[in-house]
């Protein structure tokens, strides 16, 4: 007994920080996801010439809380012949995988739960892929033919695009030589150039594959409402559904973070080591002051006193954040915190931009049909990603032979990217021809993806 307690104390002394961070994330993430959903709804409304949630709280800002409360108090309906254990397990698996993969991410140089694991990116991608179990088991446990069909389609889609995403990541990783997340960002800092410039085709492939990975439009056929099968989430109501929902948005955050880390420079400021651009350090605080100023200007226009106070609260919150952001730049005593605070800001900014792009795409373009989706994954993205790995590898060899570094590497990687693009166009053209000729295809089994 004593030994057990002592071992626990040892464990806690070593790992109290990651444990605390983990608890904080699990507690805070649902709220964050709720607000991401609100942002999506407001953005969708803006692009559709309407207003979005406006009633719950000023400008709908308390909508996520209302939604959360509603989901928690909803009746938990379990279909009659559903497999009860698996029914309970499926959403838990999805959410568990998604949250666990957050542990490997580094939001700033100082903030990483699973500190400095050698296999950083592999850990994140691999664990988030375990979420597929949750989807398959969810469709299975619902004991509904449509849910099963939807979940099989969804898992086939995820597995197919996992390969393409992985190969795209490999192209990026060739440029660093390590899977360690901190080392990747430091490599970008060392080279002085973000890897998106050096491997744009890889970034593009990863972008498309990550949209398919998270079941977002235009790849959301398995969960679209206007299709015949309503998807694996149909039979889950209330809290279980909110777990799936949480898993989906957390996956979005995870893939955005992976892309940001590998391609967009992680927590680095644009032109991080160039002193000429040091004025960019003032961009974050100015941005927050701008937001605060906008809130202040809208305060008198609010219809009621409560809303005005709320706006003032939001404005002052933004102002405080601006102060926190400007401190490391101006005050010498706060300088050591510069990397942590500004790094955190830039990382969150880039992840937000990536997620904004996801949302923008969702509202703009129609959905792919399932066979078109699979064709895109297998016949276009995977060959392209393999070719890309080849050309990036060759470009790297050439650049190390000539001892090129940093921006000079663009001289070799740009031709490589152009070659990859040409190959892409060739594949597309070949695809069009075969489509035109292939009118009477026999019934194919799309579950064998």
């Amino acid at each position: 007994m004593q030994a057990v307690i002592q071992a626990t104390m040892e464990f806690l002394k070593l790992y109290w920080a990651p444990l605390l961070c983990g608890l904080v994330i699990v507690a805070v993430l649902p709220l964050v996801v709720g607000y991401i959903v609100l942002v999506e709804r407001k953005l969708m409304a803006d692009m559709q010439a309407r207003l979005g949630p406006m009633r719950v709280g000023p400008h709908g800002l308390l909508q996520p809380i209302a939604d959360a409360v509603k989901l928690l108090i909803k009746e938990d309906i379990i279909p009659d012949n559903a497999d009860k254990l698996v029914f309970w397990l499926a959403p838990v698996l999805s959410v568990g995988a998604a949250l666990l993969s957050i542990a490997g991410l580094a939001i700033g140089p100082a903030f990483q739960i699973a500190k400095d694991i050698n296999i950083g990116i592999l850990f994140v991608v691999g664990v988030s892929a375990m979420g597929i179990f949750g989807i398959v088991l969810g469709g299975w446990a619902s004991n509904s033919h449509y849910s099963l069909m939807g979940s099989l389609r969804s898992s086939a889609q995820l597995v197919s695009y996992e390969t393409a995403a992985g190969m795209a990541l490999v192209s990026g990783l060739l440029l660093t030589g390590t899977l360690n997340i901190k080392a990747i960002v430091e490599a970008q800092s060392k080279e002085g150039i973000w890897f998106v410039m050096l491997a744009p085709v890889a970034f593009f492939i990863y972008l498309v594959a990550s949209i398919a990975e998270t079941n977002r439009a235009p790849f959301d056929l398995p969960e679209a409402e206007s299709e015949l099968v309503a998807g694996y989430m149909t039979e889950f109501s209330g809290f279980r559904w909110s777990l799936y929902f949480l898993a989906e948005y957390t996956n979005m955050i995870v893939v955005s973070s992976v892309a940001t880390t590998l391609f967009l420079g992680g927590w680095l400021r644009p032109f991080a080591d160039v002193h000429l651009f040091n004025f960019l350090d003032y961009v974050p605080p100015l941005l927050m002051i701008g937001v605060a100023g906008y809130c202040l200007s809208r305060t008198p226009k609010q219809p009621s006193g409560v809303q005005q106070i709320f706006m003032l609260a939001v404005a002052s919150l933004c102002f405080v954040v601006a102060l926190v952001l400007v401190a490391p730049v101006v005050l010498p005593i706060a300088k050591p915190f510069y990397a942590g605070i500004h790094g955190g800001f830039w990382f969150i900014f880039k992840v937000s931009a990536y997620i904004y792009f996801f949302m923008w795409l969702r509202f703009t373009i129609p959905r792919y049909r399932f066979d078109q989706l699979m064709r895109l994954g297998w016949q276009f993205l995977i060959p392209l990603s393999i070719v890309n790995v080849l050309v990036v590898g060759v470009a790297l060899i050439v650049s190390s032979y000539f001892n090129l570094h940093g921006w000079a590497m663009l001289l070799v990687t740009t031709p490589a990217a152009i070659i990859a693009l040409v190959v892409a166009l060739m594949i597309l053209a070949a695809g069009q021809e075969s489509q035109a000729g292939k009118e009477n295809a026999a019934a194919s089994d799309f579950y064998a993806g």
Binding site: R50, H145, E225, S226, T364, I365, R367, F370, E439, A443
Partner: protein
């Protein structure tokens, strides 16, 4: 649990497929009824898209016979919205029946009213005065635009584009405002009367229509940017639901569906009614008869309707708006068949009069009902995901299908 359950599920599925379908079997084509095994030796699956479904545009029930993912047969079961409008027609006077026709194709009520009023005018052998005819034309063309806008929004939504619906509703709102200013109602307008119009055009009608038409050009261009050259849209609609011209004529299909199949026929040109012979407009024709062509035809029709409106408001003749028909309408015994080009197709009224104040028989030839018959022909060989696109592209309104 485990493997046993999966086995049960498979057997359950097979049981559904092997069960003889009593209502439906007889109407599916012979090749489907005799064989129960498909290409791969697997059993066929019969899936029901029930009357309640987000994408069937009303209470339409579609039974699909599937081989894996491909549709090899289908059957539409209608009648969920049957209200006996034709029977009601025999029990109301001619004027009393006019509001009922709005409720059939409730999306394009003005067109229904136009067809009915013109049919009764033919029966009475009277002609509406020129001013009434021009105003009728303007309102009917606006209604055509509104109907096509609704079609575009919902069709795009079915295929997955979430945004065009809201833009289309924004435009449709302007048209409905004009209707409301004119006759007080937005949807079931009862805008016309037998013999002409009841309401005089309100003072700013011409200005409103002109303002709408000016804005509309750029809006249509906006929808086109979103969809026409979009690879995903083309992928979802090109080659889907092809209906050849011979099939279209054989199945009595009319309207944009027929024109997209290559047959250049529009009742506004073939048998002009209202004031259509005074205006210059084109009839868009498609080539292959697939969903993409139907989309293009309807987009072009919206543009042409706008042109008609612009031409019409330039010159609305002065004069009376109602012909002298008297309060009690007693047409001499006889019958008439009058058809107009409604947004959905040829809307025909076959009215038989026996000399009394109530019609003896009012038969409505519903374009959606007849176009829906071609659904089976269009959907064979396609994937389940295309079924929704094809239902959307025929542009049906169940109120008209079922009456």
């Amino acid at each position: 649990m485990g493997a046993g359950e999966f086995g049960n599920r498979e057997r359950a599925v097979k049981r559904v497929a092997a069960e003889p379908e009593t209502e439906g079997e007889t109407t599916l084509s012979s090749e489907a009824t005799t064989e129960n095994k498909t290409l791969l030796g697997a059993d066929e699956l019969i899936i029901n898209m029930g009357p309640q479904h987000p994408s069937t545009h009303g209470v339409l029930r579609v039974k699909l016979k599937l081989d894996g993912e491909r549709v090899i047969g289908s059957e539409c079961i209608i009648g969920y919205l049957h209200r006996g409008v034709e029977k009601i027609g025999e029990n109301r006077t001619y004027q009393q029946f006019a509001p009922y026709v709005d409720r059939m194709d409730y999306v394009a009520a003005v067109s229904n009213g136009l067809g009915y009023c013109e049919a009764i005018e033919k029966l009475l052998v009277v002609e509406a005065p020129p001013r009434a005819r021009v105003i009728r034309t303007i309102l009917t063309e606006l209604q055509r635009i509104a109907s096509h806008l609704l079609w575009l929004g919902t069709h795009a939504l079915d295929i997955g584009a979430l945004t065009p619906l809201f833009y289309c509703m924004r435009e449709r709102e302007e048209i409905l405002k004009i209707f409301e200013k004119y006759c007080g109602a937005r949807l079931t307008t009862h805008a016309f009367r037998i013999g002409g119009l009841q309401y005089e055009a309100y003072d700013t009608l011409e200005k409103d229509v002109e303002r709408f038409c000016k804005d509309f050009e750029s809006r249509v261009a906006e929808y086109e940017t979103l969809l026409t050259q979009n690879r995903i849209w083309i992928g979802r609609t090109k080659g889907v639901g092809i209906l050849t011209a011979e099939d279209a004529i054989a199945f009595g299909v009319t309207g944009p569906v027929l024109r997209a199949s290559g047959v250049k026929w529009d009742l506004r040109k073939a048998a002009p009614y209202a004031a259509y012979d005074q205006y210059k407009f084109e009839i868009p024709v498609g080539t292959t008869g697939d969903t993409y062509d139907r989309y293009l035809v309807r987009m072009e029709e919206m543009r042409q309707s706008r042109l008609i409106c612009l031409q019409a408001i330039e010159n609305i003749p002065a004069g009376p708006i109602l012909a002298k028909v008297g309060k009690v309408l007693k047409p001499p015994p006889g019958e008439v068949y009058h058809a107009i080009e409604a947004p959905k197709g040829e809307l025909g009224y076959y009215v038989v009069s026996d000399g009394t104040v109530q019609p003896y028989r009012v038969r409505i030839r519903p374009p959606s009902f007849i176009n829906l018959q071609a659904f089976d022909r269009m959907v064979r060989g396609h994937l389940v995901a295309d079924v929704v696109a094809i239902i959307g592209t025929i542009d049906i309104v169940l109120g008209e299908v079922d009456r």
